[in-house]
């Protein structure tokens, strides 16, 4: 899939268009090729290639000692990955769905996140835990959770979420190379979205946010599945007179205050968007950080557009739960524009 551009074609290196799932598959393939210590394992990742086909063909190419199906036991997947990493391997493990990662929570929180610290630097755990997350695919219950705040609230974890196929490739390669454990949250509703992927593009660094769309009216801060939604809102907003800047956070923890603050100081307004519920959610942290750093540049309180504070609904109701461009634009419209005009008058 990672066919490089050849001399006979005029196609630039960025041309190959991939779905996000294909970009992730290519990243795993390249990581397995480059480092014999990389292992890929989880539930149904072998002959089936994962329920989302992210590991498609990997067992065939690398054999069943490097790419293998585990018993259906998520705590064991993370717990054994820890033991393997202590012996020098670099496991990349798959949790089949967000809500199915919870049995592994104790291993993640008590060991994965803490072992470097507990051993005063003696034990490194270069482990990637891939978790398809979020809704929007019509999944029945327990298949659509946005669990990021559980992980971002845990010191010692790095939490990453790509919003584009390019980032899916680049960030996953960087996560595998990272000496620390990375919770890699894959927006499952974007698995089939296509985009250009240049496997040689190093990007801005794993822990940096990027400005996806420059604008002047307000900053929309989004990540993972909501990046595309925010960009859609920005396009629709033009007709309403808003020129929105969209920042893709990419790295939920550590947080790139620098890029975010620079954008908000420029626009003077900010809206945080995520699928997860609002109360105690990740957006609260983002809003607090933006307020602490940009208070004197803000013309309105930082707004949040999030999923509702209810358990994730059945598929036939999820459209009412999920943030959409209209809700983002409604939030933008409420950012005290009239006061700003009064101030200017």
């Amino acid at each position: 899939m990672s066919t490089p551009a050849t001399a006979t074609t005029t196609t630039p290196a960025t041309d190959p268009t991939m779905t996000m799932a294909q970009a992730l598959n290519t990243a795993l393939r390249d990581a397995l090729t480059d480092d014999p210590n990389v292992l890929v394992f989880g539930e149904d990742v072998g002959p089936l290639g994962g329920v989302f086909r992210v590991t498609d063909g990997l067992q065939e190419q690398f054999g069943d000692t490097r790419v293998f199906d585990t018993p259906l036991a998520e705590s064991a997947i993370v717990g054994t990955a820890i033991g393997m990493a202590m012996y020098g391997l670099r496991p990349v493990v798959e949790m089949q769905f967000d809500a199915f990662a919870y049995p592994a929570f104790e291993q993640v929180v008590s060991h994965l996140a803490k072992l470097r610290n507990r051993t005063r630097g003696g034990v490194s755990l270069p482990i990637v835990v891939r978790i398809p997350y979020g809704g929007g695919i019509g999944g029945v219950e327990h298949h659509s959770d946005s669990s990021e705040a559980y992980y971002t609230a845990t010191p010692g974890l790095t939490v990453i979420s790509p919003g584009t196929p390019q980032d899916a490739y680049t960030l996953l390669r960087q996560a595998v190379a990272c000496p620390d454990p990375v919770i890699f949250l894959e927006p499952k509703r974007r698995y089939w979205g296509k985009g250009p992927v240049d496997v040689d593009d190093p990007g801005p660094g794993m822990n940096r946010a990027v400005v996806r769309r420059e604008g002047t009216s307000a900053t929309v801060l989004a990540y993972g599945p909501m990046v595309a939604t925010a960009l859609e809102a920005a396009e629709l907003g033009l007709a309403e007179g808003y020129d929105l800047e969209v920042v893709d956070l990419r790295s939920l923890s550590p947080f790139d205050d620098e890029t975010v603050s620079a954008s908000v100081r420029k626009t003077g307004r900010a809206v945080v968007v995520h699928e997860a519920a609002s109360f105690g959610g990740y957006g609260a942290e983002v809003a607090a950080r933006v307020t602490e750093r940009c208070f004197h540049h803000l013309h309105a309180p930082v707004a949040r557009v999030t999923g509702l504070d209810v358990p994730y609904p059945p598929p036939r109701l999820e459209e009412h739960f999920l943030p959409n461009p209209e809700r983002i634009l409604d939030a933008v419209a409420n950012l005290q524009w009239e006061r700003h005009l009064e101030d200017q008058a």
């Binding site: 000692t65 585990t70 018993p71 036991a73 705590s75 064991a76 993370v78 717990g79 054994t80 990955a81 820890i82 033991g83 393997m84 990493a85 202590m86 012996y87 020098g88 391997l89 049995p103 104790e106 291993q107 008590s110 060991h111 803490k114 072992l115 470097r116 610290n117 507990r118 051993t119 005063r120 630097g121 003696g122 034990v123 490194s124 010191p155 010692g156 790095t158 990272c178 000496p179 620390d180 822990n207 550590p254 947080f255 205050d257 620098e258």
Partner: protein
């Protein structure tokens, strides 16, 4: 029956996975040699080495309990009474093997050769792990029950993939066998044929809850067959049989034979920790009864009768124990200097900006205090 759900079942193979009705013994409660089919009494030199490690381990444990009463340690979960399990198992490990202990296995760590002062870093409250995990091939003492068993399975699997001659020993208690991670670890170990041995020290209580409220299984060793691995029941107060059975299981694991579950029946002579009141849940006379089955005394009686231990040797051993205890007291009396700035070390390989900011604030606080 055929199809993907079919399992080859062979009655004879299955029966071989079951434990014996009575715990295996090589030395009985009176110190006498017992014939135990399939298990040889360790050599004289081994028996003497095991006894020495138990005497030193017991002295270490007594000293740690005393230090806790004096306030030098934050907490100490004593393993007095479980000496034979901890020493017998630790000395069965080859240097290249790995050990994944729990918070109650301090004696096993000392028997493995880890500096007692480094062992007590955790319980003194100076740090979370005082020894070098890689150099000692010993995981940090694990407090969340049974979670260490999965680390043991993972490391064993990695060693097997590397083709290394390494076996791994996971230590568990009877309470931990009720945890989900024990189930996952036993199952995955058996499926992977990982070179790992699980030793359950059944001391009768999970803090205050007796085994009868923990399981309805005939014995904990019976759980082995459910995972397709041998379950072996041993007298946990007989250091010879613990050592012999654990060593055999480690050899079997190294040779590609897969994992073994061993249940060692023993007793915790002290309370759960210094903060516990064991009189609330133990029967009158229970402790006294188990004191008559003291593993160190049993080994001593056996060695004396076998002519492997005399007054001089015992005196020398006691003196060695006193020397070690004195060194530990000196180490524990030394005031540790804690640099608060190290709070931010080793959270990530490279400190994050967030941590740098908090470190700067803490540095300001420290400067103001100074």
């Amino acid at each position: 029956m055929t199809g993907p759900g079919a399992i080859a079942y062979d009655e004879k193979t299955a029966e071989a996975l079951l434990p014996t009705a009575e715990p295996l013994q090589l030395i009985d409660e009176h110190g006498a040699r017992v014939h135990c089919p399939g298990h040889e009494l360790p050599s004289d030199a081994h028996l003497v080495a095991l006894h020495r490690a138990m005497v030193l381990g017991r002295r270490f444990d007594t000293q740690a309990t005393a230090l806790t009463k004096q306030g030098s340690l934050a907490v100490y979960p004593s393993s007095r009474g479980q000496d034979a399990c901890q020493v017998g198992a630790a000395l069965a490990l080859a240097p290249q093997d790995w050990l994944f202990p729990t918070y109650r296995d301090s004696m096993a760590l000392v028997a493995r050769g880890i500096d007692p002062a480094e062992v007590l870093v955790l319980l003194r409250g100076d740090g979370h792990c005082g020894y070098d995990v890689h150099a000692t091939r010993t995981g940090p003492q694990c407090t969340p029950l049974a979670t260490n068993a999965l680390h043991a399975v993972g490391l064993a699997h990695a060693a097997r993939l590397a083709g290394d001659d390494v076996a791994v020993l996971a230590l568990l208690g009877d309470g931990a066998t009720s945890e989900g991670d024990t189930h996952e670890a036993l199952n995955v170990a058996a499926v992977y044929r990982a070179p790992v041995v699980f030793l359950v020290q059944n001391n009768g209580y999970a803090i205050s809850v007796p085994l009868s409220k923990q399981t309805a299984a005939p014995t904990l060793a019976h759980k082995g067959i459910g995972y397709g691995m041998p379950g072996v029941l041993v007298d946990g107060n007989d250091v010879a049989v613990v050592h012999s059975v654990v060593a055999a299981a480690l050899d079997r694991a190294r040779a590609g034979g897969g994992p073994t579950l061993i249940e060692a029946v023993t007793y915790r002579l002290e309370a759960h920790t210094n903060a516990d009141d064991a009189t609330r849940y133990r029967l009158t006379g229970e402790v006294e009864d188990w004191q008559t089955r003291d593993p160190v005394e049993r080994s001593r009686v056996h060695l004396r009768a076998a002519g492997l231990l005399d007054d001089d040797a015992e005196a020398a051993l006691a003196a060695e124990g006193e020397e070690q205890a004195a060194a530990l007291r000196t180490a524990m009396q030394k005031e540790t200097v804690h640099d608060p700035r190290t709070l931010f070390s080793d959270v990530y390989a490279t400190p994050t900006r967030l941590l740098d900011e908090q470190a700067a604030r803490l540095a300001d606080e420290l400067a103001e205090d100074a």
